[in-house]
Amino acid sequence: MAVEASPKTAALARTRTGRRQLSDGAIMNLFIWPTLILLIAMNVFPLFYSLYLSFTNFVVTANKAPVWIGVNNFVDILTTEQMWQYFATSGKYVVLSVGLQTIVGFTLAMLVRSKFRGSGVITTLILVPMMLSPVVVGLFWKLMYNPIFGFFNYLLGFMDPATGPDMIASRFGATQVPGLALLAVVLVDVWMWSPFVMLLVLSGLNAIPDYLYEAAAIDRASSWFQFWRITLPQVMPLLLIAVLFRTIEALKSFDLVMGLTGGGPGEQTELIAVHLYREAFAGQFRTGHSSALAYIILIIVIAVSNLYIRYLNRAKGEG
């Protein structure tokens, strides 16, 4: 017996038929291509365009077409002594900052690993600095470092600004202390990002099976032995990921420095990313030259990242 379909059912059937007309490939393309086009327009195109510009003398504000000058920009950057100084400052900053963050972050993770009353609240509070804006943190710490009313000197016990440190000015009393301003930036970066290292290490620590420690305890292994042979190797892959992220970020560090010291005093905290900003913007707009510098920084970041990844794979037993 034939049953007449209602208009609603017929419409539904038509819609279903219509949907069936779109193949899986077409649906896939519908999802993929808008994303790809956006990616090409916003990421890939600027990437290659800036690569092209790095071989030109283009100044974005000059209202003139770019003129091809070959590798002149790269040669100029790599043969300028001042540039090497900026790279060296960035290197010092990365080593000090990431090194201290690793130690502090790991220590904090070990401390909050075991559950105790209020450990959840304490862990959350420790994470607060990394949730703040770097520029705000920079400005906030600028006040903290103030030798007259800042808490930093107060906590160190220096009540008299004439005899205490002026971190941003790189002075201790009336004496100049080279490197003190860079240390000031490093300390703030450590304060801000150690929680990030702690977070990753903590997840690694929580993933270590208890039976490993139980077996070690049965074998009467010392705490140091357990740490060295169980904890550290088990946490190492996540620790290396944390170090990798922090290294990449520290190499690109800009906003914190601008908020805190503006690259000064002198050129003590003029990191390469800060200098890149000055060349690309800040009235200079040396677009071609700054594109070349940006590519050199990118190559360094990729090279350093590859070293880490190779070590990471080895730590995971895949290398």
Partner: protein, 471 residues
């Protein structure tokens, strides 16, 4: 799979390179040579003032930095709307991003604004890049060029220097001066103690040496009181402007008539002036002001830490206002004192108003009509009464202006001896060098004044030669 991936990536790269090639502003000839020298004169074809009517234009937009004078201009513009029916909106951008927003807008040949009140240092870039309408004839035919002081016409509007070609009408005159604690200066006990120590009366310093004596006299670390609050910030141009306040009175300059810098930047006058600035910082600067600009020096004064504070006149209203300064009744102002040989000078601030060349001729004409109205003596009188720093000669000399604000006499005097930093398109590169070297010597305490000035001279010389400004 890897073959597919390779094909895909190749296609992606090709597509990007094609897009990149298409994105070039114009077809550029391939020249495997070094970057060509930038000419010192205007490179882009200047846009002459239009010969059309702007009657159909009902709204104009002016870009300016976000600060009190921009509010005053917005207030003044209401009178223009009442008189002509043309609404004028002052678009305000914070100082920190003003330059970037404007220059990127111009790089895109934007028509978002009809006029800009731009920094004096931008004049060269604006003129050579074709951003601004040439106002030379407009300034002559309307007589506006003769209505303002020569120094402001030169530094806010002229490019290249000495060419008598004008790209902006002087709008907000500004320069550095000093605020001081008159209540402390007038205290009989302080006066007696000062005279006993230095052998002359405690009064507004006539020379920088007197300023140093006063600064040392009032620096009492046990009381949390310090002689001065001076510019030290490295980020943009603060410390260079601060040092200029001693450089110019010492007779120093940045370049000679041929734009040469070797032996000029590192002249003995400039070296001595820089050494003086460092000595002033070492002896008497409020602690913590190692990265200080207008906010920080004002804050030190408002907090009662500094007896004398260097700042642009535009930031002095906050110091004479009892609502913001508890020492307002005892606060007064003076211009930069003379150098060791009696020379006067002050770092220039302030801006001129320019017409954007990318807007339609009708809008350009409407903008010129507004500037013509703004430049009239009556409007300038109102502008000054609102709090704007007029550059109009008649208004500056009037009794009304002199008595309107406690800092106006010092401002009027300062505007007769102001000087500026470079305003050529390469100014930002030159500025980066001086900022770093001054900060290194004054704040970080590294090297000597001679080494700092020698380094600046050598680097400026290199930049100017590479840019084709000197041979």
């Amino acid at each position: 799979m890897s073959k597919k991936l390779f094909t895909f990536l190749s296609l992606l790269m090709t597509l990007s390179m094609v897009l990149a090639a298409c994105a070039q502003p114009t077809a550029a000839p391939a020249q495997p040579t070094a970057a060509p020298a930038q000419p010192t004169a205007a490179a882009a074809e200047p846009t002459a003032a239009p010969a059309v009517s702007g009657a159909g234009v009902k709204e104009l937009k002016i870009l300016w930095a976000q600060w009190d004078p921009a509010d005053y201009l917005q207030q003044l513009a209401k009178d223009y709307e009442t008189a002509t029916g043309v609404k004028v909106t002052v678009v305000q951008e914070p100082w920190g991003t003003f330059s970037d927003r404007f220059t990127t807008g111009m790089a895109a040949k934007g028509t978002e604004w009809d006029m800009v009140v731009g920094d004096s240092q931008l004049i060269g870039t604006g003129a050579t890049s074709g951003w601004y309408v040439d106002l030379t004839d407009f300034m002559k035919t309307t007589g506006l060029g003769d209505s303002v002081t020569d120094a402001t016409k030169k530094y806010y509007g002229e490019y290249p220097a000495g060419s008598q070609k004008y790209w902006a009408f002087p709008t907000e005159g500004d320069a550095d001066g000093w605020a001081y604690r008159k209540d402390l200066f007038d205290d009989p006990k302080e006066q007696a103690a000062f005279k006993a120590k230095y052998g002359y009366d405690l009064a507004i310093p006539k020379t920088y040496q007197e300023l140093m004596d006063i600064a040392k006299f009032f620096t009492r670390k046990d009381q949390g009181l310090y002689g001065v609050a001076i510019y030290t910030q490295k980020d943009y141009d603060a410390i260079t402007m601060g040092v200029e306040n001693t450089m110019f009175p010492w007779g120093g300059v940045w370049q000679n008539d041929k734009m040469e810098v070797m032996g000029v930047v590192n002249s003995q006058q400039n070296i001595d002036a820089l050494q003086f600035y460092r000595d002033l910082y070492d002896c008497c600067q409020v602690p913590g002001l190692s990265n200080a600009f207008y906010n920080e020096t004002n804050d030190a004064f408002l907090g009662g830490k500094a007896v004398m504070a260097m700042n642009y006149f535009a930031f002095f209203p906050a110091l004479s206002n009892p609502k913001t300064n508890k020492f307002a009744a005892g606060t007064s102002f003076f211009p930069n004192p003379a150098g060791p040989t009696g020379g006067r000078g002050a770092a220039l601030g302030g801006q001129g108003i320019s017409v954007i060349s990318y807007i339609s001729p009708e809008r350009q004409q409407a903008s010129l009509d507004f500037i013509k109205w703004f430049g009239q003596d009556d409007t300038q009188t109102k502008w000054a009464a609102l709090g704007g720093y007029t550059c109009n000669k008649k208004v500056l000399q009037s009794d009304t202006f002199m008595k309107a604000q406690p800092y106006n006499p010092a401002f009027a005097e300062t505007m007769t001896f102001v000087k500026d930093f470079w305003n050529i398109p390469a100014y930002a590169q030159l500025l980066t060098v001086s900022q770093a070297e001054f900060s290194k010597f004054v704040v970080e305490g590294q090297g000597t004044a001679k080494e700092a000035m020698d380094n600046i001279a050598a680097q400026h010389d290199k930049i100017l030669r590479e840019g084709g400004y000197i041979k």
